[in-house]
């Protein structure tokens, strides 16, 4: 049995989750409790991949990152990096489809925070970076972690956009969902079932853990409120 799809899937999901976590937290924090011209439009663009068919996202990525695409052409000329039909394509597809989940979780976490607590830190002389590091981030952590886990799971399961931009090249771009599809196509049911079991187990344990974690947090907050 070739385990490379599992390793590739984990690698793609880990890299994309890292990028999505940092950028999602950055934008959510920057936009939290602020109103400015164009905010709704930018947020709509952030969330759009969540509601679009994966083929549309894949098509857009091909336009951008293809050999003649705006970004793809530039990357190829300047850095000799090709995105289409490489595992990097799979990473980019994962980033685009999982970013909305991270952004929404992070935005909810930052917006629900009591801004007096951050203001209290400012009045005590803390710089904006220190306020973020010691107050906003730790207090938003349960929400951020939920976003992180969901993004990872979403990245792991990404299929449609990945198929369009990275294709199916065994040993190169064959993530688990991709392997399942092409195993079924070629009648290798045993292989398909194996990967299905693996990915269901991964997804199931992720959700189970997330539920356990959020219930534990809710209980903690309930206790805090009771003792108030």
């Amino acid at each position: 049995m070739d385990y490379s799809p599992l390793m590739l899937s984990l690698k793609v999901a880990a890299i994309s989750t890292t990028v999505v976590f940092i950028s999602g937290v950055f934008f959510a924090r920057a936009f939290a409790r602020k109103q400015f011209f164009g905010k709704s439009v930018i947020e709509a663009i952030f969330i759009l991949p969540l509601v679009l068919p994966p083929t549309v996202v894949g098509f857009a990525l091909l336009l951008l990152f293809g050999k003649h695409g705006w970004i793809g052409k530039w990357l190829l000329e300047w850095f000799d990096v090709q995105i289409v039909f490489t595992w990097l394509g799979a990473v980019i597809a994962s980033i685009v489809v999982s970013f909305p989940l991270m952004y929404q979780s992070a935005a909810a976490a930052f917006n629900s925070m009591d801004d007096r607590i951050e203001n209290a830190a400012r009045t005590l002389g803390a710089s904006e970076w220190r306020v973020f590091r010691t107050i906003s981030f730790p207090l938003a952590w349960p929400g951020l972690l939920a976003g992180l886990v969901l993004s990872f799971a979403r990245g792991l399961g990404e299929f449609g956009a990945t198929l369009m931009i990275a294709g199916y090249i065994p040993g190169k771009t064959d993530t688990i969902p991709m392997s399942i599809y092409f195993a079924v196509e070629s009648g290798q049911m045993e292989k398909a079932v194996f990967w299905v079991v693996i990915i269901v187990a991964l997804g199931f344990s992720t959700i189970l853990w997330l539920n356990w974690w959020s219930r534990r947090n809710m209980l903690r907050y309930a206790n805090e409120n009771r003792s108030r």
Partner: protein, 226 residues
């Protein structure tokens, strides 16, 4: 000496106040929505007035929209309504958060402060494990530990029961005597205003409609009550 002369357009009226104070306890007294908290926020730097000046000694906090000192640079202590303690830090971490340096003199002063406030036995507890009155004392210690040049208190006692309230009022007066910096206290409780204030400013719809010294030091007649 704190000098405040500001104008700010609010949704229902225009805030327009002009006052100055020394190292005394000044009480801003008035009904809800009379602009008391907004005044505190302009002094601490969380909101900007539309025009005017705010000065503490020779430090200009605000002298125009483009000339506004950051919250961090003002060194104004603030006690928020409901205290805004950091829920994920212990009492000790809360108090140390704003301390600028940790030397022997500071440790002594903080130790004394903890004694006076009676919270030295709470240091390892988290905010959700302590009572309302204790939270109020911890918030006071936290604000004072950062050595502010002035302390603003937004309805500091409104969440407390009557006995705790009276205890805390006495503590505030004692702390003010110890610290010798200007205190501005916002309240809509008349008794409290009279007990705490060296001077009381009566506010309504964003204007100072009357001013008087504490009845305990001087007693001119006033007909205002809320």
């Amino acid at each position: 000496m704190l000098e405040v002369d500001i104008k700010k357009r609010l949704s229902h009226y225009n805030l327009e106040v002009d006052f100055s104070m020394g190292d005394e306890i000044l009480v801003l007294f008035g009904p809800s929505g009379s602009g008391k908290t907004t005044i505190l926020h302009t002094i601490v730097g969380l909101t900007k007035p539309d025009e005017g000046t705010i000065k503490l000694g020779d430090k200009a906090f605000y002298s125009g929209k483009k000339d506004s000192m950051s919250v961090q640079a003002r060194n104004v202590g603030m006690l928020f309504q409901d205290y805004a303690l950091f829920p994920h830090m212990t009492v000790e971490q809360n108090i140390q958060y704003g301390m600028k340096r940790k030397d022997e003199h500071r440790s002594f002063v903080i130790g004394q402060l903890l004694q006076v406030l009676g919270i030295h036995q709470l240091l390892v507890k988290y905010p959700h494990q302590i009572s309302g009155g204790e939270k109020q004392r911890v918030a006071l210690a936290r604000a004072l530990a950062s050595e502010p040049s002035i302390l603003l208190l937004d309805e500091p006692l409104s969440a407390l029961d009557k006995q705790t309230r009276i205890d805390c009022q006495n503590e505030l007066i004692r702390l003010h005597e110890m610290w010798k910096i200007p205190f501005i206290i916002v309240t809509h409780d008349r008794e409290e205003a009279e007990k705490l204030g060296d001077r009381i400013l009566f506010l309504d719809h964003g204007k100072i409609i009357d001013e008087r010294k504490s009845p305990y030091t001087d007693s001119p007649h006033s007909t205002y009550s809320y």
